[in-house]
């Protein structure tokens, strides 16, 4: 008597799966016979959706985008092996690009593409290229902090002068990348001493960069460690924020103002290499860079665009001497943050 139920079950399962499979990927053809370009984007649709649409319109190339978390998408591309449907990996930070590059998952980019971007913001092996930069800064309240009192180095924030006045966001990815850089540049002991000093000085925890900027503008705290563009973004919606707060860049290649890059690479074995190359070039073109500058408030990395007048030029911010691909050891950073009681 039990034959039928099981048969029914299997039959129905197959029917459901088969019906579902019919609903697969179908994309329009591109002019030169290549399929659509598939982008795995670790940058959210909010940030890059509009510029990808612009690319489709201007090039006629169809783009299919899978949005996700940068690290999860990197793991996905690694697991897909040679069969990855992805043509492009668009990552939020250089660490993930470095991980794919060292696993041999990227095809080499042509020199013309690479040379548009300064050395510091591209793969030393020519496997990925930065599309925009985010600088770490100290945002400060202009009433509460004299310009002359601003520190040259992020390391000067420990000590009585700044005790209880600074906010940070220990769970934030950009903050953690900065700590990884701090460990690389200053060494493990110095990084630990700094974290302990900040903690002892009563650094205030915030959820994210935008909360810190708001708290600084409101005078809740005097200063905070954030990415540079939050002030510009929030200021564009609420002018009082820009009046009350300003960005301070640390001096002389201090690790406190490290510039991390979002960037792209073309997946090895892509079946739409021309479309993918066109995508990369479009992001580095004047239109692309202008978008990152004006809409996302990040640093354009190619061309000679003028930034927001309140920002120093990118080449004025000296970068500490590290390879951004090396900023992938988050594990050590998290261990240190936990050890020092920051997390």
């Amino acid at each position: 008597m039990r034959k039928r139920p099981a048969g029914l079950v299997l039959g129905l399962t197959l029917a459901v799966v088969a019906a579902a499979c019919g609903n697969g990927q179908d994309g329009a053809e591109v002019p030169d016979g290549e399929g659509p370009v598939t982008v795995y984007s670790g940058r959210s649709e909010e940030l890059v959706g509009p510029i990808i649409e612009q690319f489709e319109e201007s090039s006629g190339v169809d783009v299919e985008v899978r949005y996700g978390d940068t690290a999860e998408l990197a793991a996905q591309i690694l697991e897909e092996g040679g069969n990855s449907p992805a043509d492009i990996f668009f990552a939020q930070d250089a660490g993930a690009l470095g991980a794919l590059a060292s696993a041999g998952r990227f095809a080499s980019l042509p020199d013309e593409t690479l040379e548009q971007v300064p050395d510091a913001y591209r793969s030393p092996d020519g496997l990925w290229v930065g599309t925009s930069g985010r600088a770490r800064v100290l945002v400060y309240n202009v009433e509460a902090v004299e310009e002359s009192a601003l520190p040259d180095s992020v390391l000067d924030l420990i000590g009585d002068a700044w005790s209880g006045r600074v906010g940070w966001a220990p769970t934030n990815g950009s903050f953690q990348a900065f700590i990884t850089a701090l460990r690389l540049v200053e060494g493990e002991d110095e990084a630990r001493a700094w974290l302990e000093g900040m903690e002892a000085g009563g650094a205030q925890d915030y959820e994210g960069n935008s909360q810190i900027v708001q708290a600084v503008a409101a005078g809740e705290i005097d200063a905070g460690l954030v990415n540079h563009y939050y002030l510009l973004e929030l200021g564009s919606e609420d002018a009082s924020i820009k009046e009350n707060a300003a960005n301070h860049f640390f001096q002389d290649g201090d690790v406190g103002s490290i510039v991390n890059a979002a960037g792209v690479g073309i997946i090895e074995g892509s079946d739409a290499p021309q479309g993918a190359q066109a995508f990369v070039d479009f992001m580095l073109s004047r239109t692309g860079e202008q978008y990152f500058d004006e809409e996302v408030y990040e640093y354009p990395l190619s061309g000679d665009l003028s930034q927001d007048p309140s920002l120093p030029d990118l080449d004025e911010i000296q970068q500490p001497d590290i390879d951004l691909s090396d900023l992938s050891d988050l594990e050590g950073t998290l261990a240190l943050l936990r050890d020092t009681g920051v997390l």
Binding site: M1, R2, K3, R4, P5, A6, G7, V9, L10, L12, T13, V16, V17, A18, A20, C21, N23, G24, Q25, S44, E45, E46, L47, E64, V65, R66, Y67, G68, D69, A71, E72, L73, A74, A75, Q76, L78, E79, E80, G81, N83, S84, P85, A96, A99, A103, T171, D205, E207, G208, N209, S210, E237, S328, D329, L330, E331, T333, L334, R338, L343
Partner: protein
Amino acid sequence: MSTPLEVLKPDAALAAPRRAPSRRPSPLLAGGGIVVAAAAALPTAYLLIRSGTAGLTVLGDTLLSAKTAGLLMRTTLLCVAVTATAIAISVPLAWLTVRTDLPGRRTWVVVSALPLVIPSFVGGYAFVAALGPRGIVQGWLEPLGVDRLPSIYGFGGAWLVLTLFTYPLVLLPVRAALGGLDPALEEAARSLGRSRLETLVHVTMPQLRPAIVSGGLLVALYTLSDFGAVSLLRFDSFTRAIYIAYRSSFDRGVAAILGLVLVALAALVFVAEARTRGRTVYHPAHRGPQRRPRITRLGTWRWPAFAACGALVTVALLLPIGVIVLWLGRGAAAGESFGFAFGAAVRSVEASLLGASAGLVCAWPVAYLSARYPGRLSRSVEGASYAGYALPGIVVALALVFFGARYTPAVYQTLGILTFAYVVHFLPQATGTLRASISQVHPAIEEAARSLGASPREVLRRITLPLVRPGALTAFALLFLTVMKELPATLLLAPTGFSTLATEVWDAASAASFAQAAAPALALVLLSSAPMALLVVREGQAISPTS
């Protein structure tokens, strides 16, 4: 009146289910169960392959490190605390909403089950926003001189959030079991001189035990797998460590080893559940004209009970929804457009319908085997089906990325493989309910139909399925709302460009635009509430006592 003997003396010969003539499942049923179990074991197979590539040194280092021991302890503690609290909330709540004159009882029946529709990552954001050290509530208390609230982060916060968003997994089966009890048993015990408390302990509770235990198992395993709540509330659990291993060092080997430890932990929970569930099978002796139970008058306890239900629903349901509405209002005030793609809602429903239908179909052989042919085979099949549930979504998703992209590229990133992933990940939510419903159908009824000349197919169609239908509907609704909340597998395995409400919420929230996240989050909560509410209302009518 029916004869309650079978249930009153569970160990007597009568209590054992009457054995069908053939004690072995048909090859097709067994085969179906084995296929489903094999599918559910794929993530574990993937973890074994990945740990294999990590090498013995890494394996030893990871397994024997103090950090892993700490993770194991913290995760176990969280798991036990959440499960115990969920049971402690659900059992009295079930009794209050089924058997008492609680004011507004019918409304409580519906709203007390709804916290299940809140995705844990949305709930996590909402709790941090509301109860964080400088959250919304602190803002209200500021005039009273409250500078910051005690930290919500860590064990306490994770415990609270996970308990509040999972307790309905226990509440629903317990309520169904309580509604299905024949009051004649309790009345018999009372008439034989047992006190109310004795009746509760010796007659009512033993009959609820299977429901409590199977709901508790789901809560425990969900707690093992959850990432949203533990990450936002910063509690260092196994799942968080697995995510961090993927995110930080891109080291899939270490992540896989940690995943295997989690599978082992799930196996322990499963064995513990089997022990607790016991061997007793409760079939109602006869589905005779069953009277509805008499309600207990709460007397002076009516309003305190009302207040307790109110407090629970305020924290578990109104707080997260309130925070979402607040975000929506802020977005509107800032002049942001906060519409969401209507298509995302349609795709959410589409994916949920597919996942729930396929899940129900695949759960049938597992549940039927387990209810009718308890033995080594059914235990193994059931055990395997739990492995996919206890693993974090990212592991299930990457496992199917691994197998799908390599061996079945034709269906990779289609709705087919996505549906498959939902089944692998959520199957146990359907099997538990289904098994309970099947075992409430006494085999004697099926046998009687057979002996009267009905074909097996007719028995299934006219006897078994109609009797199991309420349980199947519950299982379907549970799967539906769970799939709707699902994130990691949808992000990695859906057809490219197939965004759902859950992915829209996540996308906006990860860019820190909570105003943009609010509209899809609200739509998600409303859409999954609808089937849930319908179901609970139906159930409420079915189990409603005479008043």
